[in-house]
Symmetry: D3
Subunit: 145 residues, 6 copies
Amino acid sequence: MLLLQANIDDMNPELCSYVGDRLFEAGANDVYWIPIIMKKGRPGVMLNVLADEAKLAQVEDIIFRETTTIGLRYMRATCHRLGRQFRKVETPWGAISVKAGYHNGTMVQFAPEFKECEQAALTYGVPLKQVYDEVRRLFLNESNN
Amino acid sequence: MLLLQANIDDMNPELCSYVGDRLFEAGANDVYWIPIIMKKGRPGVMLNVLADEAKLAQVEDIIFRETTTIGLRYMRATCHRLGRQFRKVETPWGAISVKAGYHNGTMVQFAPEFKECEQAALTYGVPLKQVYDEVRRLFLNESNN
Amino acid sequence: MLLLQANIDDMNPELCSYVGDRLFEAGANDVYWIPIIMKKGRPGVMLNVLADEAKLAQVEDIIFRETTTIGLRYMRATCHRLGRQFRKVETPWGAISVKAGYHNGTMVQFAPEFKECEQAALTYGVPLKQVYDEVRRLFLNESNN
Amino acid sequence: MLLLQANIDDMNPELCSYVGDRLFEAGANDVYWIPIIMKKGRPGVMLNVLADEAKLAQVEDIIFRETTTIGLRYMRATCHRLGRQFRKVETPWGAISVKAGYHNGTMVQFAPEFKECEQAALTYGVPLKQVYDEVRRLFLNESNN
Amino acid sequence: MLLLQANIDDMNPELCSYVGDRLFEAGANDVYWIPIIMKKGRPGVMLNVLADEAKLAQVEDIIFRETTTIGLRYMRATCHRLGRQFRKVETPWGAISVKAGYHNGTMVQFAPEFKECEQAALTYGVPLKQVYDEVRRLFLNESNN
Amino acid sequence: MLLLQANIDDMNPELCSYVGDRLFEAGANDVYWIPIIMKKGRPGVMLNVLADEAKLAQVEDIIFRETTTIGLRYMRATCHRLGRQFRKVETPWGAISVKAGYHNGTMVQFAPEFKECEQAALTYGVPLKQVYDEVRRLFLNESNN
């Protein structure tokens, strides 16, 4: 896996989310931005993209086409992603998926799917955090039995 | 004193230091930038300007002329600035000023003047932090006698 | 106008954009987040909401319902928004709106509408920054004649 | 309530947590730090302190004694803190307190006490997030019956 | 040495310091957090851990057990740590250690030990910055003779 | 190319720009600072330097001499810089250079030279953003014919 980085101090920040969408479309595994302070104290951002080596040319194309950077760099990184399973939980607002992550055979993470919780909160007019809490409670109640 | 604020998400950050210089020229007492996250997760900056009410029109003019904001807000703030005195310290690299701040008659702050320390470091090829340390040591040695 | 603030150190940051959407829906004039460092060095965020005094109760309701804060504060702020006009520019990718801001009768700002530029970029497969540049160029060419 | 602010660009950041502790001791209601960019692009921090007007002199004393600022400003702020109740939940790792916040008679927040969860995690060798999840689950199970 | 990184956008930030303590206990050489902006503009944090390759499994275990990440990555890094010596300085508040760092045989750094300065400040009711200044002055006075 | 990093939590931030200048002088290709949160929640900064391997010793010397860090680390990075050409544009305020960047034979970037635009804005009393806009417009008008 490659980690590509480009420091940008002269781009309209409105473009950031659009650039991120294009990079995910081109096969990037992750895209994130780090606030940095550049030459002469300018507040800039560093674009970070994780991508397979096979996608390097495409990702570079998008970075140069869509941002204002005139250079980028990349480093080799080893990635470790947990095995994942999805499970449905029945809630008062319909079934909602929970993504569970496994490390050495043990479940170490679980997280309600954001999009589905958001949809439930909007449809039923409940606070989003309450949907999250309820999904987590029900998921744990099931796991404990 | 007024604290003026403008959120900016569509300006080339290269302009920040120039904008700051113009605002100080127009009589602003302080100018600083806060990294913020705006609508749709855009990384923006909030320009902050402290200025006397009498300077409001001039400061507003510069903010609208030199940045890309279409609005600003201001709040009333009470400022408390320490009484200050300058003293010279003789160092191996010439005399360097120290700014001392007094609170209720007691010296609570002292700081070597950055510009003079920087100049000494450049002229004599010593690390800047060493100049700072030496000025502080000599200033304290004198104060202790 | 009121500026409401709530410091939050125990909320899942995934919720931020959702909270922002609900606040805009309830009539907030602006919503933004400032990264802060809280007690015991915890990385938190400060939610900031600008709203008319008349909306105070509704905005408070949403802040308490949708975030995990147990307190908020507000200050009075005076806002100055530029008068604005919209103008259409004919581009190779259709007509795109430009928002112009006027200060004391002079146009001091102009900005292509993000959503329309984004749509043009996606539809025609051109870099978004090129759409922006072209809209700005055409707008200025017209204004100069 | 007053919100005091001091911009600091020449202080060893190691001192921040110590300064915060002294301010809480002197009766501050909240203390937090905002990363900012100051004159000449220097990365600084803005100290923020919320305190009753009656504590102004003491809080000022500590700010001037313990930080390197030579000035501060303050604004008046109106605070709204939720009514709070504490409840104990029986867990496999002993009883743990939950702080609940009430807005217009409805419970809108609940949060396990950090210190007690941390102690349980350390004593029993369980992940802290698991303690949190379990306390929240048990609290909600009780509230639902 | 390995640099491990995990991007986290759905964890209660209260957990950060606890996670850091566990990682140091497990043999990490350094732990720090970088504020980042993730997918959909979410304000997240990137956990960074420096550790010997021999500690990789233990450090990974803690990251997956104690944070909410479902993936991490690591890069190889070469570290250069200065040779260090500790020296005691006699102060009005007892002996306080100073850590000196040597580069190519020359002392390039010296820093009073934070914990000891903090203890002296608390015990004697002196400003912490004054303790620092005094320790540095005495250390330099000795070195100059 | 090497990417050197040093985490700093006990340095006066005033020194940052000076340190950057010295590093560029010593042949660094880029220097930038990332705000980070260090042990015990201290707000620190991470110095980042990009430099050729041949410059490693000199860059290390400056980092240890001019900052307060007692360690640094470096990683190998591959850099990709666009081919660049400079072109002059005739403006009402004199000729101003534009730097253009080429990727696979296509111009993907162009940026007016900051220093020249700033000089024009200061000399003629025009807003800097207007100089930028005009240079970009004229550059594009020429490219389109």
